[in-house]
Each structure stands twice: as structure tokens, then as C-alpha cells.
Subunit: 385 residues, 2 copies
């Protein structure tokens, strides 16, 4: 079957990435280890939090009505009782943040709102009932949903789950990725690069293997068990570009070429019910195709923010930036403060254009470019976590 | 010695964080494992890259002069020779991306710029000498600095180092952090939360220990060997708030209280020549103080972008946001698209305000707040990597 280069629009590739399903295996984690993972099941509060009224800060537990009229020039004395002791209309007791409110008290005066004089507390501020108190269930009512399944856990979610008595929870495993190096470069730059990229985007590398023939790749793809396979190299049209033929043989090719540049020879498909991407073997093209399509897929699976892993900044172009109609171009930029300048088009062949660059901008397929002075969105290569 | 709450400006705390020195131990990593780490030494190219002229893409190696005048309506035939064979004025040979340019050739015609007819290649485009070729040293000259010491390695840096023949390199170790829980809460929410926060910001937890007395904490601090110690709880003014006294005893307290809210009881100092931060024990205050000051320090050490770990978005306030003069306030926001609304001030007591919130904004010490409709910068709690 004759292959003809007839690339799909970038939107088709993005759509493919957005549609790939994934049945994530789950695993149990301690709370401390679960930050950044996606929760596998709804977690509800077994009890109200707090389960008794507690003090919101260090201070003095008292009855708010007793502070009426108090002020700096009219301190009202209350008899000090011991911590935890019953509080009467005429008394107040020390209490610490998080401690249960002593019986009889309905508010907590701050340390700076009164002064101890001998056996008395001189109240210098009037406070309302409930001030300085966290009431039963204020953090969370019993049975209330604490964190829904599918939410990527933030550190504060973990703290709240801890308060609610949870110690362990089940999360989605990190997406597992296989890398198959099918290129014919003497020295492989793509393997280590892709390992770093996959981890950056929340994935886990299962194996990186060199494959030297169509048969070798086919037998790997047929029994593939990783969530995503990244084949690198072999997207071209020569006999030794066996990756496409292998995928056609044991799976399906959904997209053969994409109107992105660099990286237009990207191939998307599936084998053994799992997505397979064949990335160009030229390192710059590999990086660009990965960032636009593979990162998008992995970040969605891993619950990471954004389609792209980079922070953005608005910059002004110092010179005009020309773009070809029909290609979504990744134009590498030098950025200085809030100005940007694109690298020469000839640099499209060089990996070093991506190491010299501070970031890039995207020029849509229908864009002819931008004039000097235009404000554009830059994605910052250094600003990834 | 009587402690009086006399907080330092937030700028003093930021300055403290920005001044803490760190002699990072180095460790050796494979290229694949080094992405995201900070390179410990300058790396230069031992040879030029490429070391011979190579083809930038798949195509046909030829002499550019032979293509002069070629066009779709004027195809110029060249005799096809085998891959790698010498190319004469009248011949062309197939070549693949990354392959050495055959002797005699000075350009590479793209696959779509000509057509094979029998034993000939019909050239349909005129190209210039050097087109389709990566010349010796174009990626990197011999002796050229590839990546400077102190640079946080991106995946493309790793690829370039691989091309240059590097296999292993030395990077700075992740900052090592000890957590000492000195609070008197029945259930600790801060330990798991801080573990997640430290890892998010590129640090590594050495140990999390519960300390129950001033002596216990003092003996830990005296022999501290982690790069940073986070003590949690015990910032208050009661006898059982022993953390400050411990630090005063075995080290120095540089800042006792900061004009941030929540989190104003934060204490900064050093012991055994290493920075110590005493964070408030109330989880919300702990989170806020960590994010503003500890994250800033750790991210700088780990080479991570930004003072804060969150992506930003400009939002319009749907209601006015009031702020107290003299406090740098962390106002938690609900964000919907590009509008934001602050949570009630009463929520300042509740950890759940940070789990309900989508992010926060910072209100400077001299700010009285913003009117409805004002555009502000929001930091997005979900948008961390």
C-alpha cells in the first residue's frame, strides 16, 4: 500500500489525544505520599469536623455576654480559672488553638484582647458569641463529601482528610509508558529526553527498548501492556522506516502525519487496545510532537494542569514573525523580560534551537504570522515543575 | 525574657528566604534521571556536533548547482546511486535524517521535491548549497559550553548532552528537609500536608518526627543535618509553646512573627548553621506561611520557577475585597472562568476555606482592598505540577 503524506489537521491530533480512554489501575497510598495523585474514590467525612466545638486560636474561653462594654479604657475583670475548667458568667479560662471549648464558654478572646492581672483577666474588647470558636461540623459536616473521585489531590486536601480521620486512600496509578527506539541514529538522544518529559508530565517509564526490525516492534506492540507506547523514529518513507508498517500490521493507524511543524511526521494509532504514538526521530521534531500531543494526553490522564506543561507570559515581538499557512508552527523564541524574538527558520533543523530558546509560541494553521510589536503568548521552557 | 508580638514586614521574611545559603551536595545521575535537577558543573562539548556534515531530513544527496532551473514543469534528471556512494555532478543518492552526507554532495533534496523514475531522480525544485544539511559544529562547536553549572536541566538539554557523548552528569541533590511536629493537636494534619508541599517544591523529606518537649526539640536542632528544618506548632505564647524557646536556646531567632495573614506567627531563624522555620500549628496558617516563605526558599534552592508554585490568572472581582492595612493578606478565592470572589473573612479560621477555594490573591500591607470589577492576579491552587 502506497503511503502518501497527507497530514491531518492539528485539531484532529488534539482530539485523538483527548479521546484516548484509560482504565487506571488504583493503588493505596499513605496521605503523605498521595499529594499530586488523582483520588480513585469519593471520600466522605465519617464524623463531623470538628466533632466538638474547638478554639480557633490561643486565648481565653469565656461567655461573650460578659465582654459587653469592655474597651481599652473600660477593662472588665473576669476571674481566671484553670485550663479546661467550667467557665461561669464571671470567669474565663486559658485555651489553646484546637482545644475543645470548655463547658460554659461560648467565645474565645484573643491573647491581645485582654491582659492578666493577678488572678484576673482584664477584658479590653467586646466580642460576640461564637467568636474565636470553630463550631461542630464547621470544617465538615458528617457524611459530607471531602474530596470527589477524580480530583487531583492538593496538600490542603490531604490535611483535611487527615483531620477527618483518614490515613490511607486509593489513587490512580501514574500512567505507565513504554518507549521503543526504532530510529537509526548512531547515538540516541530521544530516550533520555522522553524519559524526562514523561516524568515531568506525571507518567512513569516502564521500559525503554531499542527495536531493530519490524518483527521485533510488532511482537512488542501485540503484547503491549503499558498505558501508552511511544515509538521513536521510523516515521519516514524509506524501507528502514518500519514503525508505521509494524503498527499497520498489528494495530491501526488513525493519523499518519499532522500539520504541525516541527514534528509533522507524527503518527497516532492503537495496538492491543492501547494508544501508540510514533514520534519523529529528529530530536527537535520529537520534542515538539511530544509536547503538543503526548504531553496533552498524559497530563489529562495524570490530572495535571494545562495542555502544555509550561507557564505562559505575554511578550511583545521585537521583529515580525512569519508563519506558513496550513501549519501549526512551534516558533522558538528568545525572551528578554516581556519582549520576544523568534529564532531563524533555518534553526528548525537544530535541536540546539530548543536549548538556546527561552520558550516558544504557537502559530495557528490559518496564521500568516505577526508584525513586530504584536503581543503574543509565550510558553516558557524553563518554567515547568 | 518577655516575648511581645511585634511582627516583621513580609519583605523581611522574603529577604530572609532569599538570603539563606546552601551548599548542595552533588550526586551522579544518568541523563534520563537528571531532568528537573540543577547541573552541578559546566558541561562543554568534547567534539563538534555533528562531527561530520549530516542530512537534516530524509531525501536525496546531490550537488545543489545541478538543481538550478529545476521546477515542476522542468524536471531535471539525475542518475540515482546507492546510499552512501560518492555523488557526482550528474548523480544523486538516497540519504536519511542524521546520516553523514555522502562525499561529493553539498545539499539534500526533500522527498517531496523530486520523484524517482526508473534509475533516475527527477528534480522538481531548485535548492541552494547547504540546504537540508547540518554542517559540522552547527549544533555545537567543539569546546562550546553546552549547559552551565546552576542551570535546571530541561529535557532538550539532556538530549543535547546525549548527542555530545555525555552519559552521566553530576547534579545538586534535592534539598533535604526535616519536619518536627511540636504542636499539641490531637490529630496531626500538618505532617502529611507538609510532606506533599515539600515534594511539590523539589525538596526531599529526610524525617518527620513528633517532638513533645523543649529538650527533645533542642537536641534535634543542635545536631540538625538537613538543609532546612520545618518545626510545626509551638509558635504561640503559652508555656507549652516550646518551639521558640528551643530555637532561642540552641540557635538564633531572626524573625518572630511576620505581618502575613493567615500565618502571622511564623518564626524564622537558624540552628547549627542551617535555616529553621517554625510554622503555625493551625493547618490553614501553616499552609499559607509555608507557601509564602518556605516554598520560596525551597524553590530557589531546587531551581524551580517562581516564588509561588501556582500558575496565575487575571480575574475580575465580582464583589469588593476588603483588606487590613499592615497585613499581607492571602485571600482565598472562588474562581469561575475569569471572575473571582473572595471567601468570607470568618473562613480565615478554617482549613476548609483552602479546600473550597480555587486559588488566592495577595493583598499588600499598604492595600485597603479592591472594589468590585477590579482585575487582580489569582494564584490557582489546582494549577501546580
Amino acid at each position: 500500500m502506497q503511503r502518501i503524506y497527507s497530514p491531518a489537521p492539528a485539531a484532529t491530533a488534539f482530539d485523538w489525544a483527548d479521546r484516548q480512554p484509560w482504565s487506571a489501575p488504583v493503588l493505596e497510598k499513605t496521605l503523605a505520599d498521595a499529594v499530586g495523585f488523582v483520588l480513585a474514590q469519593d471520600l466522605v467525612a465519617a464524623t463531623a469536623i470538628p466533632s466538638v466545638a474547638i478554639s480557633a486560636h490561643d486565648g481565653f474561653a469565656l461567655q461573650a455576654a460578659e465582654t459587653l462594654g469592655a474597651g481599652d479604657y473600660n477593662p472588665l475583670p473576669l476571674r481566671l480559672v484553670g485550663a479546661g475548667e467550667h467557665v461561669n458568667p464571671g470567669s474565663a479560662g486559658p485555651v489553646f488553638a484546637g482545644d475543645p471549648l470548655p463547658e460554659g464558654a461560648d467565645a474565645v478572646l484573643g491573647l491581645d484582647q485582654g491582659e492578666i492581672r493577678g488572678a484576673n483577666l482584664d477584658v479590653a474588647t467586646s466580642i460576640a458569641p461564637g467568636e474565636g470558636v470553630i463550631q461542630i461540623g464547621e470544617e465538615c459536616r458528617r457524611g459530607q463529601l471531602l474530596v470527589p473521585a477524580g480530583k487531583r489531590l492538593r496538600a490542603q486536601d490531604i490535611a483535611r482528610l487527615s483531620l477527618a480521620g483518614h490515613d490511607r486512600l486509593t489513587v490512580r496509578q501514574a500512567p505507565r509508558v513504554n518507549i521503543c527506539l526504532a530510529g537509526h541514529f548512531q547515538r540516541d538522544a530521544n530516550g533520555p529526553m522522553l524519559t524526562g518529559l514523561v516524568r515531568r508530565d506525571g507518567g512513569e517509564i516502564v521500559a525503554t527498548r531499542r527495536v531493530r526490525s519490524a518483527n521485533e516492534l510488532t511482537s512488542l506492540l501485540i503484547s503491549e501492556s503499558a498505558d501508552l507506547t511511544l515509538v521513536v523514529g521510523g516515521t519516514g518513507y524509506a524501507d528502514r522506516d518500519f514503525a508505521v508498517a509494524s503498527l499497520q500490521h498489528c494495530g491501526t493507524v488513525a493519523v499518519d502525519g499532522v500539520t504541525i511543524h516541527p514534528g509533522g511526521s507524527l503518527i497516532l494509532g492503537e495496538s492491543n487496545g492501547r494508544p501508540v504514538m510514533i514520534l519523529p526521530g529528529t530530536p527537535l521534531a520529537c520534542l515538539c510532537a511530544y509536547d503538543l500531543v503526548a504531553a496533552r494526553l498524559l497530563r489529562r490522564w495524570a490530572g495535571r494542569p494545562g495542555d502544555l506543561p509550561y507557564r505562559q507570559r505575554e511578550v511583545s515581538l521585537t521583529r515580525k514573525l512569519v508563519s506558513r499557512i496550513g501549519l501549526l508552527e512551534i516558533a522558538r523564541l528568545r525572551i528578554d523580560g516581556d519582549t520576544g524574538e523568534s529564532l531563524a527558520v533555518a534553526d528548525d533543523r537544530l535541536l540546539s534551537s530548543s536549548t538556546r530558546a527561552d520558550g516558544f509560541t504557537l502559530l495557528a494553521e490559518n496564521s500568516e504570522g505577526y508584525p513586530a510589536g504584536c503581543r503574543i503568548t509565550a510558553y516558557l521552557y524553563d518554567e515547568y515543575d
